[in-house]
């Protein structure tokens, strides 16, 4: 077992909060935990551009805000473009001496819909242009803000309100879009996956992404009890199960080099992860086996890349 124990050492985190309590997230929302941890990682010298979605709605009902750092919401599909503008605005103003020169981190943040679907073009443009910013995708695997509709990041077999399981359908019939691979294909310096069930790992990756010059992409699996039909108290456990079953591997791609953050020679059975979620309740053992086969294959491919270092 090559498990990295410091991924559990939560007490190493700062006590300071940059995302205040009193927000309107659902009970057991792991996405809001991911955002809170990311905010801790980033500190105060940061500007956040946030796509329309759960995190925007729960944190900014006028005239209230949960944000103790500068925060900007413009629209759904353009967050990476807005962050591009923030980054270049700061750069030019510093160059011209109109604001003092110092490192200010620009963050773009969106859900899986705002990233993998409607915001993909703007994200691709911003990554290609090479802006010095970090994009954080908090992936809860469907359009949860509008009521659990499928996205291209919804896993195969999951029942959502627009990919419902029925007599003639088995839920989502397409495989989860591989966003980290798409980000990595832009040859950006840093791509990582993370999950708030591993808080130190998440914080370290967000810090690394923010420190690296150029575009960085962090994809965070965010358990959504409301959308996944799971018990709110199981969110941390579900995040761990997603990693330990190989459903959501934790890894980094640093300047093209793959590295597994946690490697499991033997993965836990996917059924342990599925059985805690109502969205997979309709799947038969055969279906689960088929899904497991494909996910294991993908996991092995990832391990191979990490072994070869490419």
């Amino acid at each position: 077992m090559t498990e990295n124990l410091n991924v559990y050492a939560v007490r190493m985190l700062t006590q300071k909060e940059y995302f205040a309590p009193g927000h309107r997230a659902c009970q057991g929302c792991a996405e809001v935990l991911a955002v809170r941890l990311a905010a801790k990682a980033l500190g105060r010298n940061v500007i956040v551009a946030n796509a329309t979605g759960c995190m925007e709605i729960v944190s900014s009902p006028l005239p209230f805000t949960s944000w103790k750092v500068p925060w900007f919401h413009v629209a759904f599909e353009n967050t990476a473009a807005v962050a591009s503008g923030i980054e270049s605005g700061l750069k030019v103003l510093m160059r011209k001496g109109r604001i003092p020169s110092k490192k200010i981190v620009t963050i773009a943040m969106g859900g899986d819909g705002g990233t993998a679907d409607i915001g993909l073009q703007a994200l691709s443009g911003a990554l290609e242009r090479g802006h010095d910013f970090t994009y954080i995708c908090t992936d809860n695997e469907a359009y949860m803000n509008t009521g659990i509709q499928r996205s291209s990041s919804t896993p195969f077999g999951a029942s959502t309100t627009t990919s419902p399981a029925g007599k003639a359908a088995m839920g989502q019939v397409t495989w989860k879009k591989n966003m980290p691979a798409i980000a990595a294909a832009h040859n950006i310096p840093y791509v990582a996956t993370a999950c708030p069930s591993y808080p130190i790992d998440l914080v370290q990756k967000v810090k690394k992404a923010a420190d690296i010059k150029g575009p960085a992409y962090v994809h965070i699996l965010s358990v959504c009890p409301t959308g996944w039909r799971s018990a709110p108290e199981l969110s941390i456990k579900l995040g761990r199960l997603a990693v330990e079953t190989g459903v959501f591997p934790l890894y980094e791609v640093e300047r093209g080099q793959y590295r597994m953050s946690m490697d499991f020679p033997k993965l836990r059975p996917i059924k342990e992860y599925f059985k805690l979620q109502g969205r997979f309740r309709h799947l038969t053992d055969d279906m689960i086996e088929e899904i497991e086969k494909r996910l294991h294959q993908e996991y092995e491919q990832l391990r191979e890349k990490a072994k070869k270092g490419v």
Binding site: F64, K68, F72, V74, G85, G89, R129
Partner: protein
């Protein structure tokens, strides 16, 4: 007096953006706006302009980048046409709601379908209500001048609204005209660096773009309405200051031989210059015809317009866009402006010159002839699409 030069209007527009010391430019190329972005790219690439230029992947992102950069306090510029404006239209409403003083030049072009690259005003009419201050210019000098005027106005703390400068695609964008360039020192004095009231910066963290529940939304919209309506004196003030500097004075409603005219032609944009030739010809024939040119489209200058229009017997309003199923958008607004006055003029509406079809002085004369006959026969509120082959 500034240097006099001959130059393509798009090049002069880009030169104005340079002279205005814009910090961030973000655009996506689209005909007929391309020459502006090409020249701006040259200026930045040659080190003649200290700005960041981004040729982004869509117009939606072009304006979104400007929204981001303007929010940090960087003077930002974009320009587009037609489909490009349609694609960025979502963000036009947001930019004004967020009170970001971005300036956009719109090289007006037809909206598809059928696809057409030529000029009319259907693009801007699609975002008529987006909350930006909107100018229409008649010639190249006015485009150049209005870049400075727009930034000074937009960035005024009592205004803080984005501005669109509408210039007719090809008819203006691609022609070479004489210009009087303004000396840089004068511009620097007229347009000092932008000092935002609020900016995104960690030293003073603020939340921008929060969502509003019904209990507060109407109040935010009221604030926006009050601001754009009360920007009118500020617009006059900036025009006056600009006129004092250059000798070129502008008004929300421009008139030509309109004082005693029974019939008034009403135009917006570059058609005004052609129409004035037609007015001269009709005046030579002893006809009582004048011209009204709308320069300020938003906020709509009701008072200035009424002062001129109520003296006339007939208005012949030339629209360069169709609200399909209703007629010309300008005419319908003018009718609304005059409603409630017992002695109001008849408003006869022509939609002409759509998709860049030429409108010659003789066409204006034909339209006035037709309108006068129709009104005489009792058709006081007529509308037609002019010059269509049946």
């Amino acid at each position: 007096m500034g240097k006099r030069v001959g130059m393509e209007v798009s090049i002069a527009a880009a030169e104005a953006v340079k002279q205005a010391n814009v910090d961030v430019i973000s655009a996506y190329p689209i005909t007929p706006q391309t020459h502006i972005v090409e020249h701006l790219s040259d200026l930045v690439a040659n080190g003649e302009m200290d700005a960041d230029f981004f040729c982004v992947e869509s117009e939606h992102s072009a304006l979104s980048v400007c929204v981001g950069s303007e929010a940090t306090g960087a003077r930002s510029f974009t320009c587009t046409s037609s489909q490009g404006l349609a694609l960025m239209s979502e963000i036009t409403y947001i930019a004004s709601g967020l009170r970001l003083p971005i300036v956009m030049i719109l090289a007006n072009r037809t909206l598809s379908a059928p696809l057409s690259i030529w000029n009319d005003h259907s693009d801007v009419m699609s975002i008529r209500d987006c909350g930006w201050i909107q100018f229409f210019v008649e010639n190249g000098q006015e485009v150049y001048d209005h870049v400075f005027i727009s930034y000074r106005l937009a960035e005024d703390r009592k205004v803080l609204l984005p501005v669109i400068i509408n210039m007719d695609g090809f008819t203006l964008s691609h022609v070479i005209e004489p210009f009087e360039m303004i000396e840089q020192e004068k511009i620097d004095q007229f347009l000092p660096p932008y000092q935002p009231l609020y900016r995104l910066h960690p030293d003073h963290p603020i939340t921008m773009g929060a969502f509003a529940l019904p209990s507060i939304f109407a109040e935010t919209k009221k604030a926006q309405e009050v601001v754009i309506r009360s920007s009118m004196p500020k617009i006059s003030e900036v025009w006056k200051a600009f006129g004092d500097m250059t000798g070129r004075y502008y008004n929300p409603i421009e008139t030509y031989k309109a004082e005693d005219a029974e019939t008034l032609l009403v135009t917006m944009g570059s058609l005004g210059e052609t129409a004035s030739v037609a007015v001269d010809r009709m005046r030579e024939e002893g006809r009582s015809v004048g011209l009204v040119k709308i320069r300020l489209w938003r906020p709509f200058p009701f008072e200035d317009f009424k002062q001129v229009a109520l003296k006339a017997k007939d208005l012949v309003v030339i629209d360069r866009a169709i609200s399909v199923g209703m007629g010309g958008p300008v005419a319908s607004e003018l009718k609304a402006a005059l409603y409630g006055y017992d002695s109001r003029p008849s408003v006869y509406n022509f939609v002409a010159g759509i998709s860049g079809r030429d409108v010659a002085p003789s066409d204006f004369i034909k339209m006035v002839d037709k309108a006068e006959i129709e009104i005489e026969e009792g058709n006081k509120e007529g509308y037609e699409l002019y010059g269509v082959r049946e």
